[in-house]
Symmetry: D2
């Protein structure tokens, strides 16, 4: 089965446990001739890396990517690309207790119940560390898009952390801001307050949730399939497959459920559709939001310092990566639309 | 490609245009020996059928299902089950105008742009009529579940229509109510007001959105795959693949994004997780919500009477069908979990 | 699962039992804008039809194809194409005996053992009648190829029936011969002897095997994938999936196993490779052979006249159909080779 | 796409170029709880390894397998198993010439034509070195089978090398012989002659083809799917996907094409069917044969000593590996047959 695969044309298969020897991904279906940018890959991994700031987990990982196949003389070969990252700072001793006592909010018990035999160390494969592989695959997808459609832009940022919510002006401003200048990726003048909140939470074993918003500009029109693989459905699937995510909406989302048709459908096009009609991109800006629960590791577990008080800041590059994978997947898929 | 397939073990492939000769579905992966209930199938199709009440479209379709294969002596054979429904009341003349002028809020133009050649009549394959095939497949899935796990219950209902929202008590009461006794599937004493609103909307070419909530009781623990095919991810994909849907959330959903961890994660289990942890069902009640936009056909288009002023009432059996397909799919999948 | 699907980009899913209401196929992944030729489809079905001559089964079937979806104004829509054929001359009474006594050489007992519940009538889904669906899908594939690469030619014919074997001259002559002018599709002056042999066999409940050879001319170079989906592997899979087939070889096949390298690899290109090197088409003529066992229905079973004394004549259009499907599949697939 | 994947339930995805950093495989769909035998894996890799005897290539590779994921405390976790082998003796300089001049009988030119950009060193991904990954995956499959059905035995051996052919007695004797005691895996008293022939060929730049025969004993009945994934079809696909293979037959194979039905179908069961009827295993011994062309590297290319004068001896464990993968795949698949 393909329990660990994602995508139709550009198909990724991820593997690896949090405290095993390595994690990685095989990317099948990447065309030949794509220039491979190690810099882009490294930069994206840096953005997701643990230990990057005072508001993230203290786990130290170099997260150095090794390209094992599919790339030659800095170009893709059309063969499967395998890229791995070896684990280093895997402090498994801290997890001995889990063997007998499942952690609140985690998958320890459901996993055990399902598979019987589990790697209890650091959550094994249900650790957030698996998102590393998504960032790798997303980077390759981004390289494909940059070759095919360099005008496409993807921008993710924290729309909300705890009770801090971006103002409409701050939200609109994100294309003119370097999101990564903000530790929490909450692009607001109030960010110092958010930082303080998260630092305090980290010290005290508290945690918070939040919402990531993503905008896609200059997207090619005609992406998405009519029935099951609507572009919005693939986006929803991609986002809901992330560990801490509990909600997804596109365009006006839940708010549209309270609108009247004559008000909502005022123009043929419009931001209310989130850039998608009939499951197919219109070419207008796509925007969607992803809701994250508070981090599950709290109190004593969290105080050991190896957990994020809020996962949103580090999840931004992951959400962007999944978005790039889908864009590349559907861009390639359109080659099959017409005879 | 499998643009028109859904499911991993129980794989359905749908086909058919709104005004073509027929619509249908092939269900591959259904085990042999499942008792086939024509009554259940008919009942589910009746619940989705157009023209069923004063608050739905006036299109008249018998929606009579013909089983072409895979069933013999009222039992499944383990071979692919093909079931079709022929179109009858396909009034295509009303759609001549679309050829030159795309309808607001519809997929006419994105579709044309993608495929070049389109069946403009009644939205072709992007018509809501395609959900018929989902209800057929969902019925077969329900038969599988009734054999494997008769205790599982799925209950969908309108949580919100326009600005009417169920009270918490009404929501809790749904297991003791026959939802189908309510024309709008909004199980409330205020339903007469909702009916009046929708009848008026139908007459005036207005439309409304809404929210469907689904609860799953007595679900088997251990369903779902650790990474991409988390149970919540497959649910999100299923729901976002429906035409008018713009939002999905599970458990506390977006509301959880504003909670503190020490408050949210107060117990090992709990309703806040929506019955899923680490992507895997815990055995507790699953609950999720699906947000629908107002129907796209408004004003003159809608006044011709062949459109629903709010799609929520007829979408309830569709949402339930997709849920059954996923439950059956994952129930079968667990057979592969352990050696 | 996809037990009943074939192909990667052009994906077909077949359904139907020999004595059920209908058989059919859903073709997913056919691009929009392909001209649909009902004449080609009908002609191919005629070539496979039972009862077409004195050397085939007496079962009478109109085999009239109904296109249910995916085609509008004689062009494909890019949506799934479903085409069915209803069964008519299903004389099921003759099969009552099988319920208790499995037929020699058939799948009656293996099937029963696997699925428990079976449709014993006429072999159910393991009847050769399922190849009807392959001919339908192959016809659509042929339409795709005619649009993309009209120069490609596929020619199948009986290379051997019983102990009659084409001379090298007769084999070479096949492009200048109308194979269908030969009842047995054995294009030789000795065909009258083969006809006499098969007519006698039909009367006496005897049966024979044979070999079909296929040549592909003007094939596009570059078709096939490097490792698992080598063009020769997909061909081997396609042919070995036919009921009565027990052998497959390409180019010099088994004969090459006895050759010396310095003799065999005398030139960069050459007929010895069968038009494929490294799994990828070179553009040279492809040739392969498919070995068929004698028909399983013999003696009393066969004398009832509803079985073919040798399946090779009717299998020629089926083998060609599978070849077209693969060519179309790989032609479309090459669109994904390079960025 | 899944150009580099094989299998339906037990799905393997291979990667790696002959002279790249590493080759490997991801195995998805392996149930949890399978005891992982490093010894079995190592033993199988030793059997395939280059440089193992005087009749194989002189390339020296340790072929040491590193398990990166999916195994913990010597048991499988139910998560994807990634196993890699790093390349060491990659003497790429010898391949500089290929850049401008494609080698006879190789894929250098077809590959270039397809992908444009290629890794010319050692054949890149179309090198026989990719079969390493098949042996790894086959070993895991064998571990699964040993847990589920320890009675199943797979035995491969050279049936023919050049013009040396096993006698029927030698063929029947293979279950009582340690095939690996024969350098060429041709289990005959005449093996010394075969060795001499191949040593001479190696010195002189000559090469030979051959035939591998495989027998499967005590196979579970009921494996295989009715239409496309017949057990024989999957076997044919698996074998034809190997680089040097040009022919495949099962049971009596091509010889059956010359038989009369009343002679061939003399008994309900029987060796003539090769252990498969209707595509489904009967439980009787399965036997099939795989035809190999002479090695493509001849004359000067071969004299450099890094090529096998006949690939059959080293291909035996590869053919066995593919067989194990299919058995495990179909064994797991039968869990889905019945409700």
């Amino acid at each position: 089965m393909s329990a660990n695969s994602f995508g139709q044309i550009l198909k990724i298969t991820t593997f690896g446990e949090s405290h095993g020897p390595a994690l990685g991904v095989v990317i099948d279906g990447c065309p030949s001739g794509v220039e491979f940018s190690h810099d882009l890959l490294t930069a994206n991994l840096e953005r997701r890396k643990p230990g990057q700031s005072s508001v993230t987990t203290a786990r130290q990982e170099a997260d150095q990517a090794e390209v094992l196949s599919g790339v030659f003389e800095n170009k893709t070969l059309g063969t499967p690309i395998c890229i791995i990252v070896k684990n280093q700072d895997a402090d498994s001793k801290a997890y001995e207790a889990i063997k007998s006592q499942p952690r609140i909010g985690h998958a320890d018990d459901t996993w055990k119940l399902k598979f019987g035999h589990v790697d209890h160390r650091g959550g094994g494969r249900s650790s957030g560390r698996e998102t590393l592989c998504r960032v790798i695959a997303g980077s390759v997808a981004q390289m494909i898009c940059e070759k095919l459609r360099p005008e496409i832009k993807v921008r993710g940022y924290a729309k909300q952390i705890a009770n801090f919510i971006l103002t409409p002006e701050e939200s609109e401003n994100v294309w003119h801001t370097n999101i990564d200048n903000f530790k929490t990726r909450f692009p607001s003048q109030r960010e110092n307050e958010v930082v303080a909140l998260l630092e305090k939470a980290k010290a005290e074993g508290e945690s918070f949730g939040g919402v990531i918003e993503v905008k896609i500009n200059n997207i090619t029109a005609g992406l998405g399939q009519p029935v099951f693989h609507k572009f919005k459905a693939d986006l929803g699937f991609a986002m809901m497959s992330l560990g801490a995510v509990s909600a997804f909406e596109i365009g006006e989302g839940f708010a549209s459920s309270q609108k009247q048709g004559t008000e909502f459908h005022s123009h043929l096009s419009g931001a209310q559709y989130g850039g998608i009609r009939g499951g197919i991109t219109t070419g207008e800006t796509i925007d969607f939001r992803v809701g994250f629960k508070p981090t599950s590791s709290i109190k004593d577990l969290a105080k050991k310092g190896r957990h994020d008080p809020c996962i949103v800041p580090r999840a931004v590059p992951v959400v962007e990566a999944m978005t790039w994978i889908l864009i590349a997947d559907h861009l390639l898929w359109t080659r099959l639309d017409r005879i």
